[in-house]
């Protein structure tokens, strides 16, 4: 059985002189959560707009469940649910009016597919007569997801659904995505938040229109082939400066209350680093070897 739902082959897109994406290829399997992880302007939205038939690639092929994005665009539009990066519902319609509108456009009714959106919709139902424009950020996001799901799509394409959303609403949103995956929906999602990578089955890390890597989060982390240290002392401001000027520093990046550090020397011991920091009069020096996270890996690829 062919398990591939989305197949993207060697696509390119330029806007004038700007090459937005270069030679992008990937596949997404049935009921997989596939994440595009990268900063603003890296090309995430361009890829999603090509997949959703809203933009033509300059070169390359895209195929969804056997249908071609150019030839079969009408069929594809019925099979996918798309949530664009900007809130794109009708601000001057109420919650329930928006939902009815999108159901009608796709020739269905809210009742017919209510099961699919029930969990999400119940959270906004108390506000069903409120205008969409008057909803809070988290509520808007839930309504937009409900509208993208109302025609029971097989593939869901979500462009930065959690940008600008607080940490709690972000967690709730990802819990909803896990539930949709169980209902056999294939999900493509993009995000600038590196910590969300671990919630995807597979991710592509993207920068300047090119993939830095594409794999499961665990495999990406295993490719990090250096010793990574977390360092903390009583004076973090001086620690930053001292490590910046240390001759053996390869990278030194702030991570919350710690610094993550890699050393140019192959087999450096903790005591060596300790000795250096003591000589700079740091106190309460805490150095531990740690497992990298996706953000460490992303920065590692960026500096290669």
């Amino acid at each position: 059985m062919n398990n591939i739902t989305v197949k993207v082959e060697n696509i390119y897109k330029s806007y004038g002189d700007v090459e937005a994406i270069k030679d992008i290829s990937f596949t997404v399997n049935n009921s997989e959560i596939f994440g595009l992880i990268g900063p603003d302007g890296s090309g995430k939205s361009t890829i999603f707009r090509i997949i959703t038939t809203l933009l033509l690639a300059d070169k390359g092929n895209v195929n969804l469940l056997g249908f071609d994005v150019i030839k079969d665009y009408k069929k594809i539009r019925n099979m996918i649910g798309y949530m664009p990066g900007r809130f794109s519902l009708y601000q001057d319609l109420s919650v329930i009016e928006n939902l009815n509108f999108f159901a009608t456009v796709f020739g269905t009714t809210v009742d017919e597919n209510y099961d699919l959106i029930k969990d999400i919709y119940l959270q906004i139902e108390p506000f069903k007569n409120r205008l969409a424009g008057k909803l809070s950020g988290g509520m808007k996001q839930k309504l937009a997801l409900s509208c993208a799901l109302i025609h029971k799509p097989e593939i869901l394409v979500l462009d930065e659904p959690t940008t600008g959303v607080d940490a709690v609403s972000r967690k709730e949103f990802w819990e909803m995505l896990r539930k949709l995956k169980e209902k056999n929906i294939t999900i493509l999602v993009s995000t600038p938040y590196m910590d969300e990578a671990s919630l995807c089955d597979r991710v592509a890390l993207i920068q300047n229109g090119e993939f830095l890597n594409i794999d499961t989060p665990d495999n990406i982390i295993q490719q990090f082939n250096k010793k990574l240290w977390s360092i903390k002392t009583d004076n973090m401001y001086e620690l930053r400066n001292d490590l910046k000027n240390y001759e053996y520093t390869e990278t030194s990046f702030a991570f919350g209350q710690m610094l993550h550090y890699t050393d140019k020397r192959k087999n450096v011991e903790k005591t060596e680093i300790e000795k250096f920091l003591s000589s700079k009069e740091h106190s309460n020096i805490k150095i531990n070897m740690i497992k990298p996270n996706i953000e460490d890996c992303f920065m590692d690829f960026m500096t290669k």
Partner: protein, 248 residues
């Protein structure tokens, strides 16, 4: 602690829109030179409070003093002593780098000579001297955000307010941005910042967390993490913001 070491003081700051209470008796102080993180869920009331502190909106009741000036009677003086930058709006895209510097310097009433000097320092520091006549629109997002920050403090304000300054920026630039924040704070500028990145919250000296218009926690990240028996600030935030009834 001596009262003069505080640069922002609010007592029972309350803002109502009709019957809706956006800020409910906020009482807090920000120390001179510290990096103060102002956290909260969407809709918790952060922007409302920040607008009041910037002198753009008046509270319904309560006492607010910013940089030594009263929020009801001395808003013009406050505006001269603060800088502001947000992710949504920072620089004019259709002006060049240098024109933006001149524009903001002019608004803050700096002399031409002073603007010229500051501009040179700023361009050298960011290593973008050769881009001085390029349109802002042509610069990468990360550069824009760093430039916007340096321009927001070009008049050497006492306080700079940053509203989600690093949203969508790549992880390396995000850290370079924080290097600039640390430096500003080291030079005595108080930094008041909102962010949705919880690792960034840990870079702050102290943070407050707002839930439904109230401040429910205020301390150093380390103390909050210990107090709420958490791994990191993300954990603390979720515990507080998801379950406001948690014992404070």
């Amino acid at each position: 602690m001596d009262k003069h070491e505080y640069i922002i003081n609010t007592v029972d700051l309350t803002k109502k829109f009709g019957s809706f209470v956006a800020n409910d008796k906020l009482t807090f102080s920000v120390k001179k030179g510290e990096i103060f993180g102002f956290l909260g869920a969407n809709g918790a009331g952060k922007t409302t409070a920040m607008k009041i502190m910037c002198g753009l909106s008046k509270p319904t009741s309560g006492h607010v003093n910013v940089a030594g000036y009263d929020i009801y009677t001395e808003t013009e003086k406050i505006k001269k002593n603060i800088g502001y930058m947000s992710q949504k709006f920072s620089l004019y895209e259709d002006l060049t780098v240098y024109e933006n510097i001149r524009f903001y310097g002019g608004i803050y009433g700096m002399s031409r000579k002073n603007i010229r000097q500051k501009a040179e320092n700023l361009l050298t520091k960011m290593e973008i001297k050769k881009y001085r006549n390029n349109l802002i629109a042509s610069l990468p997002l990360g550069w824009k955000q760093k430039l916007a920050f340096l321009i927001a403090i070009i008049h050497e304000p006492q306080i700079v307010f940053l509203d989600e300054p690093t949203g969508g920026v790549d992880p390396i630039t995000r850290r370079q941005f924080w290097d600039l924040i640390y430096e500003a704070s080291h030079n005595g500028i108080t930094v008041f910042v909102t962010t949705h990145y919880m690792d960034e919250a840990e870079y702050c000296d102290r943070i407050s967390i707002m839930v439904d218009g109230k401040i429910v926690a205020l301390d150093s990240p380390e103390n909050l993490i210990n107090k709420y028996n958490s791994k990191n600030m993300d954990d603390v935030f979720v515990k507080l913001a998801r379950n406001p009834s948690v014992k404070l």
